[in-house]
Amino acid sequence: MKNQFMKLISLITALAMIATVFTACNSSQDGNGSGQANASEEGQSAEATQADAKEIDFYSAILKEEASILVSEMFTEETGIKVNVHSYDSADFVQAFMVASNGGSPVDVMLLNGQDVRNFAQNGLLQDLTDSPYTERVTETTIEQYTFNNRVYGIGAKGGNSSGLFLNMDVFAEYNEDIPETIQDIFTFNDKLKADGKSFFAFGGGSKYMWPMWYFSVFAQTSNNQPIERTEAILLGEAKFTDEDTVEAFRILQQFAEEGVYQQGFNGTDSDGGKAVFVNGDAAAFYGGTWEISGFLEAGMDNLQLIPFPAVTDNTDEVWLQTGNASDGAWTIYSKIDPKRQSAAEKFIEFITRDELIASLRESDNADLRDHARVSCNKNVPIPDDADPLTIKQMEMLETMTFTHPDWIYPGEITTKLQDILQGLTGLQITPEEAAREWQDKMDEMLESGYDFNAVEPLSGDE
C-alpha cells in the first residue's frame, strides 16, 4: 500500500518535472512580451533594432471586430504600421485579456469599456497619459472620468450616453396620458395599464447587469444630487451603504415592484425580452439609455420620446442628475508596452482621436463605425444639424447627468453584489434594510482585506 503510494508520488513528480523543464526551456525565449515575432524581425534588419517597430497589437472591447479592422486598415494605409486586431465582447474581454497578457502576447493599445478602466488602472495595466497632448481633444468631463489619483489613464472614446426613459407615445395617446413628472403619475397610469394586462415599464430583469442603473438614478435623488461623491465616500470607508440615502433608494425600488410597474415575470426575461415587450406596445415606457436609440429606430419605433427619470422623492423642483457617462470607453496604452512600439502606439492614438476622422466615420458603410461616431466626446465634433430628434435630445440630456456611473468605479464584487440584491429586492425576497446590510457586509469584507480605492499599483514582475 505504502509502496504503491510512493510510486504514485514519484510518478507525478517525474511528470511534473518533465513538463516544467519542457516549459521552462520554451518560456525563456519570450523575454519582453514580443516573443518569437520580434526575434525574427530583429534578425532580419539588424540596423532597424534602433528604429521603432512597425506593428502594434490592438485590443478592442467596445468596437466590433469588423469595425475595428476597418479603422485599423485606414491607419495602416496612412502610416504603414501594421495593426493586429483582437476584438472581444465586453463580457469576455477581461478573461481573454488576462490569459493573453499572462501568456506573454504583446499588448499595445487597448480600447477599453469605460467600466473596466479603473480596474485596469488599479491593477497597474495602464500607462499614465497625463502628459499626452491628445487629452486636449476630448471634453473636460471625459478626462475627469478617467483620472485616478490625479493622473489620467485614458482618453475618451465614442460619445457620452445618458440613461433615460423612452416613452412610447402611441401608448400614451391611447390612454390619454401626459408625460409623467413624478412617480405618482407613473403609478396612476400603471393602474390603468394593469387592467389591460400591460405594465408601465418593460424591463429585462433577467439580465442582471441592467439593474444597477435603476439604483443609480434613484440614488442620485436620495443623495441630493451627489451620487458619485457619496459612492466614493463609501468606497473609501468614510460612509456606508447602510446610510439612509441608499436604504431609501432601495425602498423606492421595492415599491416599484410592489406596485407592479414591471411586466409579469420581469426577472425571468432577459434584456432582449424586455425590449421586445416595449417594441410590441405592451408597455408604455422603457428605462434604458441613449445607447439604445439606434436599436429602437431600427425596430421601427418612430413615435418615441426620451425624458429624464422622473422625481421619486417629494422634491419635484430640483433638476435631478441622471446616471450617465461622458464617454463609453477609453483609448489606453498598456503599461508594459514594448518600448520600441511606444511611438507606433501613440501614432495610433493620435489617429483615432482625430476630429476629422471621427467626423468622416459618420459616413461609413459600416453600421458600427457610424454608431461609434454618432455622438462624440471630442470637443470639436458636434452632432450635425440634421441629426434625428432623439440624438438631439441625447445631447441635451448629457447636460444633466453624472460623468460616470457608480459601477464604473466599484470593484467587481461590489457590482455583482448590487446586481444580485436588486434582483432579490424587486423579487420581494429581501427588505431594503437587509439588502443594504448585505451590501455593506461585502464592502466591510473588502476594506478589511486591504482594499484601497485610491491605490494604483504598478504592475509587478517583468514581462
Binding site: A16, V94, G124, G268, P411, E413, Q429
Partner: protein, 298 residues
C-alpha cells in the same frame, strides 16, 4: 525466460502509455500543479502572484457562498442524474427493439446533443419567456395557466433551477440514451433466448440479465452525469447568470466570478477549485467502493 518476457512487457506497457502520459502530463498535470501553486497565493490575474500560504483555504469554511453554490449543484445532480440514468435506460430499452421507424426516433432524440449551448440558451430563454414564450402560451391555451398570472420560469427563485435542469435534460438525454443503446446492443441475444425458454417475464429479464450485462454502462453514465452536474456552467451562464438573486448560482459560476470579476481573488478562486476537486474525488471513490460492494453481493 518468463522474467525477461515480463520485463519486455513492462517496457511495451510504458511505451504504449507514453504518448497519452506525455500530452496529459504536459497540458493537464503541469497546469494543474501551477493551479495548486496559485491557490496558495494572492493574485489579481495580472503581474506576479504573491505567496500567502494557506490563507485562501482558511477562508473557505467561512464563505457561505461556496456552500450554497455546492448545494445548488447537489440539487441539480439529484434531478438530472436520476432522470438521465433511469429514463435514459428505459427509453434505450424501447429504442433497442426493432420497431418500424426506430432509426428516425433515434436520430430525433439525439439532435439536441449536437446543438451548441449558445443556441440552446437563446432558444430556451425565449421558450421560457413569461409573457411571450412558447411554454406559457401553450399552458394558457390549454387552460392550465391564467394570462394574468404567468409563471416566470427563469425569474422565480422557486422554478429557476428546475427550469435549467429541464433544459439540461432536453439537451443531454439523447446522449445518455445512445450510450445505453450501444451497451444494450452488445448483449448476446442467446442469453435472452435461453431465458425465454425458462419462461421468465419482462421484468425479470431486465433486472437479472440486461442490467448486470451492461453495468459498466450504468457506471459510466452515472459518472458522466455526476461530473457534469457539478461542472455545469454553460447553461447557467447562457440563461440566468446565477440569478435570480443567486437561485441558480452554481460553483463553477462562483469560481468564474471570483477569478475574473473580483479584486485579487484569483488565488482564492483556485483554492475553491481544489476544494471542489477533493470533494468530487471523495464522492467518486465512495461511489466506486459502493459499486464494488454491490458487485460482490451479486
Amino acid at each position: 525466460m518468463l522474467k525477461s518476457k515480463k520485463k519486455r512487457d513492462n517496457i511495451f506497457g510504458y511505451l504504449f502509455s507514453l504518448p497519452a502520459l506525455f500530452i496529459y502530463g504536459a497540458f493537464t498535470i503541469y497546469p494543474f500543479f501551477y493551479g495548486i501553486y496559485i491557490s496558495f497565493c494572492e493574485w489579481s490575474g495580472f503581474g506576479e502572484p504573491t505567496f500567502i500560504g494557506i490563507q485562501n483555504y482558511l477562508k473557505i469554511p467561512g464563505d457561505s457562498a461556496v456552500f450554497s453554490a455546492l448545494a445548488h449543484n447537489a440539487l441539480y445532480a439529484v434531478g438530472t442524474v436520476s432522470v438521465k440514468v433511469v429514463f435514459g435506460f428505459l427509453i434505450a430499452l424501447i429504442l433497442n427493439k426493432s420497431l418500424k421507424g426506430i432509426t428516425a426516433f433515434r436520430t430525433i432524440l439525439f439532435i439536441p446533443v449536437v446543438i451548441s449551448f449558445i443556441a440552446i440558451g437563446a432558444i430556451w430563454t425565449w421558450i421560457l419567456n413569461p409573457t411571450q414564450g412558447l411554454l406559457n402560451n401553450l399552458l394558457i391555451a390549454i387552460g392550465v395557466m391564467d394570462r394574468g398570472n404567468v409563471t416566470a420560469w427563469l425569474g422565480d427563485e422557486r422554478y429557476a433551477l428546475i427550469s435549467l435542469m429541464i433544459v439540461d435534460l432536453w439537451k443531454w438525454m439523447g446522449y445518455h440514451i445512445v450510450l445505453f443503446l450501444a451497451g444494450l446492443q452488445t448483449i448476446s441475444p442467446d442469453l435472452y433466448e435461453s431465458a425465454e425458454i425458462d419462461g421468465v417475464n419482462w421484468y425479470q429479464k431486465t433486472v437479472y440479465i440486461t442490467i448486470p450485462q451492461i453495468k459498466n454502462v450504468f457506471y459510466m453514465n452515472l459518472t458522466f452525469c455526476l461530473v457534469g452536474a457539478f461542472n455545469v456552467f454553460d447553461i447557467v451562464m447562457a440563461m440566468t447568470e446565477g440569478g435570480p438573486y443567486g437561485a441558480t448560482e452554481v460553483i463553477s459560476k462562483y469560481i468564474y466570478d471570483t477569478s475574473f470579476g473580483a479584486t485579487n481573488m484569483f488565488g482564492y478562486a483556485m483554492s475553491i477549485s481544489m476544494f471542489v476537486f477533493v470533494l468530487m474525488l471523495a464522492v467518486t471513490l465512495i461511489i466506486l467502493k459502493f459499486m464494488r460492494k454491490a458487485e460482490e453481493n451479486m
